[in-house]
């Protein structure tokens, strides 16, 4: 009972503090500035939330601090920007990746045979290494003289010359025959990997396999996709560019989110899973990975900053007075209680709120959410109930990266797209998680909004009182320190 009344007391105090601060700011700044700054704060808060939600879910369930989260935000922005401005690069590389994945995914098909092979123990160790070397050599051969940089540059051209005809920038892809040879070689390379990963000769890996039909589904689907995307390499780019800009933007968001999801799953399975027993190495590994991703992006698109063109729904000059008017005309600004505000930023706020609702429903209404809430406390017991916890870890990691990636493409139309764009968001994401409480998505949302507001009002005061703009950045750290003193476990953290 006293526990509950204490909780009530804290809520009342919290509410009074918030109300007091809001009222103080309102009277001090006046309505116009207050609304404008609040909306800016919510915009930032939405982006902070998209980064922090993944961080906090991943940390809560797996105790993993993902220091590559900011880079994944950045990758999302690049993917979406590429898809939106000129998808030549994406469609040029996609069939290669699909071809490789097709044969790697044959593992469940070939494994039951391979583990039954009669191999000496020495060969059981040697054979996978040999296959990996072979895979690498074949893959290098497959990509000889593949002009990946040329493909990447196509979108850079598109940025510098915003011509009226979007197709003017499309460059032709390689001749089909040469490309097919690459695909075949990559499939061979993937097959080598699959053989190595199947642990040939290792009989302890025998387990009752699912029916062959079921095991073949994924490889067959991938193979069909490989063929389709090979045939549409050029026409797909054209098709995308001739699309309605809003639709293209929606597809860019989906592409970036999906890519983030798959990238996250891949990273978890290949690099993080072997390290759960040594969690400190995970920190080093993700940190290293963030550098690799940044360098890779710099090699492909040069260390430049790009400005993604805003989709038509947010691009027409002029100010709408109502939401209906905005949606009809695609106005770039809208008047809210007399304040002019960019419509795209409203969209970002909406994105954050929608994703918060999505995560809330996922956590409370779905079986996956139930598993996550239980797994945070005791993953071993969840596993003892017959649930494949490893797969859940992969899913949650992938989901977290997908959210960061979504944040990236969400930010792309109003932030410069550049290799370091995720760093600041990662930092703010971590601070958000600390303020909100490790593992709590509600905490991530509240924390993100508090930080967003602090940044926005910090900037406002810095400008008004002619202070250094670093005061806005310092404010977030000050808030974190205050929270840590009053509630070390964070606003919504469970005591542990």
């Amino acid at each position: 009972m006293s526990h509950n009344s204490k909780k009530l007391l804290y809520s009342v105090i919290g509410f009074l503090v918030v109300a007091g601060v809001v009222f103080g700011l309102y009277t001090y700044a006046g309505q116009e500035a207050f609304i404008r700054t609040t909306l800016s704060g919510l915009t930032l808060g939405s982006l902070f939330f998209l980064v922090a939600a993944g961080l906090t879910l991943i940390f809560g369930l797996m105790d993993v601090l993902n220091f590559a989260h900011g880079s994944m935000f950045m990758i999302g922005a690049y993917t979406g920007w590429q898809f939106y401005t000129n998808p030549t690069f994406i469609f040029g590389v996609l069939p290669l990746v699909l071809a490789f994945a097709t044969t790697v995914m044959l593992i469940p098909v070939i494994k039951p045979r391979l583990v039954r092979l009669d191999l000496s123990e020495a060969w059981q160790k040697r054979l996978p290494i040999l296959t990996y070397i072979a895979a690498l050599l074949v893959a290098v051969l497959a990509l000889v003289k593949f002009d990946i940089l040329g493909l990447a540059k196509t979108a850079m051209v598109a940025v510098t010359t915003t011509s009226s005809n979007p197709l003017a920038e499309l460059s032709p892809q390689e001749p089909l025959l040469r490309f097919l040879l690459r695909l075949l070689l990559l499939m061979l390379s993937g097959a080598f990997i699959a053989v190595g990963l199947s642990k040939p000769g290792n009989r302890t890996e025998v387990s009752a396999p699912e029916p062959l039909k079921k095991r073949l589904i994924l490889p067959v689907v991938l193979f069909v996709l490989t063929i389709i995307f090979t045939l549409v390499r050029e026409s797909a780019s054209e098709g995308v560019l001739l699309m309605n800009g809003n639709l293209r933007f929606a597809l860019a968001i989906i592409a970036a989110t999906l890519f983030g999801f798959l990238l996250g799953a891949l990273i978890e399975i290949t690099m993080i899973r072997p390290l759960y027993v040594r969690s400190f190495f995970i920190v080093l590994m993700t940190l290293g990975m963030s550098f690799v991703m940044r360098e890779l992006v710099q090699v492909l698109w040069d260390p430049l900053a790009y400005q993604m063109v805003r989709p038509p729904l947010f691009a027409q000059p002029g100010r709408a007075t109502t939401i209906a008017e905005w949606l009809m005309n695609g106005s770039s600004t809208i008047s809210i209680a007399g304040v002019t505000f960019p419509t795209y930023r409203l969209f970002v706020i909406l994105l954050g709120v929608v994703m918060f609702v999505f995560v809330t429903l996922l956590m409370n209404r779905s079986r996956l959410g139930m598993i996550i809430r239980a797994g945070v406390q005791d993953p071993q017991m969840v596993e003892a109930l017959g649930i494949n916890v490893k797969r859940v870890f992969t899913l949650v990691f992938a989901l977290g990266v997908a959210l960061a990636s979504l944040g990236g493409i969400g930010a792309a139309p109003f932030l410069p797209v550049q290799p370091m764009m995720g760093d600041q968001y990662q930092m703010q994401g971590f601070i958000t998680v600390v303020i909100g409480g490790m593992g709590s998505y509600v905490g991530a949302f509240v924390g993100a909004m508090i930080l967003g507001m602090a940044r926005a009002f910090g900037d406002y005061f810095a400008l008004k009182l002619q202070l250094s703009p670093t005061i806005a950045e310092a404010s977030t750290v000050i808030i974190m320190i205050i929270v840590l003193i009053l509630r070390p476990q964070g606003l919504f953290g469970k005591k542990d």
Binding site: R367, Q377, D378, L385
Partner: protein, 252 residues
């Protein structure tokens, strides 16, 4: 050792398992047989290795040597979730009910197929009527006894052939111990149970067979009715803390 040859009557045979936790050699050649449709109890002092034996069967601390044969299949070395899906339910000693989940969600989580809970709900709530009343309460609001009931109930949601139950009476008030005993007795009608129980009275009334674990080895096994007569053995391995068994009538 005679029983091991009679493998078609044993639902579970644990054969000479060695389990290490880190570098510590915790189990050294433990063997346990559980006949189909029976209750077998693991006895032994604190720290003897009873919990580790259950965890090893479950795949949570896989054995380095030895075999675990369940329902005719070798299951040692498989991942825990796969072992569970063969039809083994686990009730851990720390009552690991999920605090952030409601009673209903705790039960739902244990489903392996859709509808598992619906099919068994009547049976579960008949055994533990409290749980139905508390179904919307979160795990962290339950009393110790209620948590223990929930932990057992959770193992009854899917169709399990074998239940591993670790100290169900630990920390329970006498009335609740009675209720738990009744529940386990009813479970025996449909499933096979491997029990760990420090409360010798409860153990002796429930189980047909016993295995004594001492210092990581299985040192004795046999019929419970024989052990009850053997005061020396009881004293030697189970310690003076356990009183001589009282006859059934006195307890009830």
């Amino acid at each position: 050792m005679m029983e091991t040859t009679d493998s078609n009557r044993n639902l579970l045979s644990v054969e000479e398992i060695d389990t290490y936790i880190g570098q510590f050699h915790i189990l050294e050649g433990v063997s346990v047989d559980v006949a189909k449709g029976s209750i077998t109890v693991l006895l032994g002092r604190n720290g003897a290795g009873k919990t580790t034996t259950l965890k090893t069967i479950m795949g949570l601390t896989p054995p380095r040597n030895g075999r675990v044969i369940f329902d005719g299949q070798e299951i040692q070395g498989k991942q825990a979730f796969k072992i569970a899906n063969f039809g083994i339910g686990y009730v851990p000693e720390n009552r690991a009910v999920f605090r952030a989940l409601t009673v209903m969600e705790n039960l739902k989580l244990a489903e392996r197929k859709k509808g598992d809970l619906d099919r068994h709900a009547d049976f579960i709530f008949e055994l533990f009527p409290d749980l139905e009343r508390l179904s919307k309460l979160k795990g962290n609001h339950l009393s110790g006894g209620q948590q223990q009931m929930l932990a057992v109930a959770r193992a009854l949601v899917p169709d399990n052939k074998l239940l591993l139950i670790d100290e169900p009476s630990e920390g329970l008030a006498p009335i609740l111990i009675q209720q738990m005993m009744e529940a386990i007795r009813k479970l025996r009608e449909t499933t096979t149970i491997l029990l760990v129980e420090q409360n010798f009275i409860m153990a002796s009334q429930l189980a047909e067979r016993y295995v004594i674990i001492d210092d990581g080895k299985s040192v004795h096994r046999g019929l419970m009715s024989d052990l009850v007569q053997n005061q020396d053995l009881i004293h030697q391995y189970l310690g003076a803390s356990i009183q001589a068994p009282i006859s059934t009538s006195e307890v009830q």
